[in-house]
C-alpha cells in the first residue's frame, strides 16, 4: 500500500488521514522522511531507538535524521569518509582496549602447512619484527628458517589488502600496511617458475 498516495487516504478512515498529515510535517527536521534505520551506517542501534515507546506516530519525531546528524567521536565514522564496512569494523570501539585490537589479528598461512596462525599486526612495530615473529611461528617447518625479505630466501611474504588484492609485504610504509592488511601468506618460491 502506498501511503504517499493522497487519493487512497481521502477514501480511508480519518485515522489514515491523520497519519499522512503527521508524516508530512515530519519530525526532527526530516521533512517527512521516516528513517527505518536500514542504512549500513546504523551499526550502533542505540542511536535510533526512540526514547519513548512508539505508540502511534509520536515516536517518529525522535528518530535520528542521518543527513543532519553530526557524528561524535564514539561512532565509527568520521567526517565524510565513505562507508566501508570493513573499515567501520576496524574503527568500531577503537577507544576500548581489546575490542578494537581484535580487528588487527590477521591470518597467516604457509604453503604446504595445514594449520594457520594468527598474528596481531598491532603488536609488531616494523616489518623486521613481523618477519621474526613469522620465522618463530613457521620456521621450524623449514630446513633453514624463512629468511623473509632476504634475497636468498626460498619464501616470499604476500598479503591481501582490504580491496582483495594480493600484494608483496614491504612495498608500502608499515602504518599503511597495518591499516590495509587483511590476510597474509608465506609462499614458497618455485625457481622453476621464475623467469630469471
Amino acid at each position: 500500500m502506498d501511503q504517499n498516495t493522497p487519493a487512497e487516504f481521502s477514501h480511508g478512515s480519518s485515522n489514515f488521514h491523520t497519519y499522512y498529515s503527521q508524516t508530512k510535517k515530519g519530525g526532527g527536521g526530516g521533512g517527512g522522511v521516516i528513517d527505518l534505520g536500514l542504512s549500513l551506517r546504523t551499526i550502533q542501534h542505540e542511536t535510533y531507538l526512540p526514547s519513548t515507546p512508539m505508540i502511534g506516530l509520536d515516536g517518529y519525531g525522535e528518530l535520528i535524521d542521518w543527513s543532519q546528524r553530526s557524528y561524535s567521536s564514539n561512532t565509527q565514522l568520521k567526517g565524510e569518509e565513505p562507508v566501508d564496512q570493513r573499515l567501520a569494523q576496524r574503527y568500531y570501539n577503537d577507544g576500548e582496549e581489546g575490542r578494537g585490537k581484535m580487528a588487527y589479528y590477521v591470518k597467516v598461512n604457509m604453503d604446504g602447512s595445514v594449520v594457520g596462525r594468527k598474528v596481531c599486526v598491532l603488536d609488531q612495530g616494523t616489518y623486521s619484527t613481523l618477519a621474526l615473529q613469522l620465522d618463530n611461528m613457521f620456521g621450524m617447518q623449514t630446513e633453514s628458517g624463512l629468511k623473509l625479505f632476504q634475497d636468498e630466501s626460498e619464501f616470499s611474504l604476500v598479503y591481501r589488502d582490504r580491496e582483495g588484492l594480493w600484494r608483496n609485504v614491504g612495498d608500502v610504509p608499515w602504518k599503511e600496511f597495518v591499516a590495509s592488511v587483511n590476510r597474509m601468506r608465506i609462499a614458497r618460491r618455485n625457481n622453476a617458475l621464475l623467469p630469471y
Binding site: 595445514v114 596462525r117 594468527k118
Partner: protein
C-alpha cells in the same frame, strides 16, 4: 581427535578460557597437548589443538583472545603432529 573412534561435542561457553578448555580436552581424550607458546605453538606433545573458523580455515588454538575464538570457532580438531606440521599427505 585424529585416530579417535568417534566425535565428541562440547559447549565452548562452559569454559572460562584456553587453559580450561585444553584441560578438558586432555581429560576427554586422555592426551597431553603440551604448553602453548606464542612463538612456536605447542611444545612437548605430538598433538596439536586446532579449530576450524567460520571461513573454513584450520587455525592453531590460542593465538587470539578467547572471546574472539569463541565467536569464530566452528569445530575443533586435535591433529597428530606430522600432519599439523605439514608433513602429511594432507589436505
Amino acid at each position: 581427535m585424529d585416530g579417535a573412534p568417534y566425535l565428541r561435542k562440547i559447549d565452548l561457553s562452559c569454559y572460562k578460557g584456553y587453559s580450561d578448555l585444553l584441560k578438558a580436552l586432555e581429560s576427554m581424550f586422555k592426551i597431553s597437548v603440551g604448553e602453548y607458546f606464542e612463538r612456536d605453538g605447542y611444545k612437548g606433545s605430538d598433538f596439536v589443538p586446532t579449530y576450524e573458523d567460520k571461513d573454513g580455515d584450520w587455525m592453531l588454538i590460542g593465538d587470539v583472545p578467547w572471546e574472539m575464538f569463541e565467536c569464530n570457532c566452528k569445530r575443533l580438531r586435535i591433529m597428530k603432529g606430522s600432519e599439523a606440521k605439514g608433513l602429511g599427505s594432507g589436505v
